[in-house]
Symmetry: C2
Subunit: 515 residues, 2 copies
Amino acid sequence: MAPTSTTLNTSTSEASVSPYSIDHLISDRSKNRSFKHFAANADENAPKNFKPHPKPLALSFGRPNAQFFPVKKISVELDHYPFQDSIFEFETETAEQAEPVIIEKFPTDKNELGAGEAFQYGDVAGLPNFQKFLREFVETIHKPGNDQWGISASNGSGEGLNKVADAIINPGDIVLFEEFTFSPFGNNVRNVGGIPVPVKLNFKSTEDADIDIKYLSDLLDNWDEIYPEYSGRKPKAFYTIPTCQNPTGLTQSVETRQAVYDLASKHDFIIIEDDPYGYLTLPKFEKPNKSTLVKDHSLTVDEYLAHHLPKSYLQFDKEGRVIRVETFSKVFAPGLRLGFIVAHKKIIEVIKKYSSIVTRSPSGAAQLILLNIIQKKFGGINGWLEWILRMRLAYAHRRNVLIDSISSSEAYSKGYINVISADAGMFASLLVNFPSSIPSTEYVEKLNLLNYKFLEKGVTVVLGYKMSINQAFSEPNANFLRLSYAPLDTDEQLAEAGKRLGEAVEEFFENGFEF
Amino acid sequence: MAPTSTTLNTSTSEASVSPYSIDHLISDRSKNRSFKHFAANADENAPKNFKPHPKPLALSFGRPNAQFFPVKKISVELDHYPFQDSIFEFETETAEQAEPVIIEKFPTDKNELGAGEAFQYGDVAGLPNFQKFLREFVETIHKPGNDQWGISASNGSGEGLNKVADAIINPGDIVLFEEFTFSPFGNNVRNVGGIPVPVKLNFKSTEDADIDIKYLSDLLDNWDEIYPEYSGRKPKAFYTIPTCQNPTGLTQSVETRQAVYDLASKHDFIIIEDDPYGYLTLPKFEKPNKSTLVKDHSLTVDEYLAHHLPKSYLQFDKEGRVIRVETFSKVFAPGLRLGFIVAHKKIIEVIKKYSSIVTRSPSGAAQLILLNIIQKKFGGINGWLEWILRMRLAYAHRRNVLIDSISSSEAYSKGYINVISADAGMFASLLVNFPSSIPSTEYVEKLNLLNYKFLEKGVTVVLGYKMSINQAFSEPNANFLRLSYAPLDTDEQLAEAGKRLGEAVEEFFENGFEF
């Protein structure tokens, strides 16, 4: 049921804000958890004449003094560009850029995060300076449409998504997924008793690739008829990767985002926005040319924010029903295990309780290194985005090398494959154009055979169907490949991988779709 | 039921090993999870003439090349002693000790962990070099009594214990706890449907403080009569902190450990050994004297291992029923969020599956810093233990300062309080000697009042009862305090805290046990 005005939360002081009450969308499991530290001192029953000492000395917590941590000072040297010596060989590093970041144990500036603090037990939602940075970052880049939002650090997107699953899903709850998706989140949903249900995507034509809004709208309007087995249990949430969707590469239009949000309002569900690659929107494909890369494609941060960075669902969110999950894995390094979640503060509250009991805080070592680099080396949010723009150029170049190689292949000339999407993030998606003699019911079998051809030629790819959330539902659309231009070391390897891929497809097609 | 020989696992090649089959002690939840990455390539159905390429190029995983990580080199300066400038002001640091550790992005020595590897996605059980170190460490220090053990890194003890709860507890399973304990683990047990049940401790006399083995043995022999509500459901596990038990400070004797292990064998339960402070066994209390601290109390690593480090339950474990949970929080720094679990490899297997889905790997930044310091600065396991011995001296000194202050108080002289235990770890426990006019049913109320006296005087402590796993069960024994000499900054503060504590107790006792 859509909420009526009588279910709106009217407990806030300003009636005009009237934030949507999301209590009914929070899982019972997470609402019922309680956490209180045994060393915490309550004073609700204090004797009448009790006056607490202004500076109590702590013999309570088992928290080692920072002098027990052997680290005194950390110094970090950085590359100014990723692939400084190969892709950006035409750019020289200045002396200032080569200066290391110095991280003190006890910095005098309170806005700096020191090793003494980072190596201590810390807030499960992130160390205070890190939380402050995250909050300013979200305010600047994706300011939520309501003022009820909160923030919590996570141990990266995967772990952040698990926290979200715990926070909202009761056993038996339905969660909508884009039919091809980052399928591991399905494990987290099932782990708490949720049921993933696919939503159709249009992704095979570069021009109008997007969520199939008509399908989604009809599905929600006619839920009980379409899914009689889930009758009376309309979806609790929709999990979406709106920019550079993994694996199809599609990026939702602004209109689609508004339409999806309106459906969420109407049908009362949560939008879980997973956005690991969203910062890496790329210029259009062209022949690779390192020597003019920076000159031709550099953006200012203002241009980037105004014209190249898609809006977050947070920005449409008048009711506090959007949960955004972000990570530093793709824009800094996955090994940090550091990300964050933005959501209605009631959801952040239950997530913090979960963290206190189950996962504890993200590593202070990771927060220490990342925050000091951003603040002391990059100079804050603007410089951080400039780093992301330098990464963007490196990804654009590598994408150009791979797609150039593939489009020079016979398989491509003959129309056996075509590129559907390669304009954002780290993935290109490639359609495998089976002729009509191959029925769609044989796509999976044929793709598995083609995969052996890839492995024989020496290139690994992801077969589209392996990222379906419901294979039977998506088999007719499964004739595509996800190619990542992120892992390989050199341009030469990327070009060679494209060549091997083309040869494998050509041999497979010309051998009657047999190995 | 105790296992019979027919339930023994006979699938191993050496019949003489006959490791105990622990399958029935693993939770259904964790056994039934499956995890497979969508980018993994199976070849069980490969075409007959398929030959994989020896060097495939990867377009599959969304794993950014290490050149995308801006960190080029990290240098870490260390203190040789904790509290180098205060407690160890009589010791001078050598030039060699002051040399920083240099961490390269791509070290040429394969035994070193580089930033390029640590900042990448890594094994959920820990990066290979870190796992190798952990395995050698366990082999050297606490070699398990069976060869079926495995190891997995964790995000610290709290998170490690949660993994253990998930791995073994089915809804309705009973877990025994020492009656006073690190009570937050109760939350993890309840979170997966387990039921904590307390076991009596003798801890009020320094001489024979230990687990009450007779109580435990009787409890297990007469389970159905003592707990008719749990009839037929004998305990699945016993959670114990065998060394410097938190909060009582007791350390189990070797005989107790053997007896508990024998009971575990007989009654078929798992021993969960939590050992965060076990390395910090301390010399006996004496008047604090910084100038002779190193000379009087230094141990060689060999002496320490032979005479001062208690045995782990792992060493008694012929059957693979011990799970040991360790952390680097207390011997390096809590903010790392890094620890490890040693257990039967089948338990490690289900823990790894849980990690793959739920928590992902511990931070590579933490592993990078810790492992490089241990290997390149401390020179490996021996040097690591030497660091721990230097920490031990610092803890011993701080304990001396606190206990010296408390034992100089009027409250102590008058017998209102006495020290039960202060010989290991970071906690001292203090008995509050209420007269017989205060019945034990009033202990909690009186301790709460006394606590307001502490807060008024300006010292925080942990009231024993707050760490009981079942308050009603433990109230008669709850007249004690846990004091931590870990957090405060200076000797002066520790002495002042002890003084305030003494004054608070004195005033409370002499005001007729009223505020």
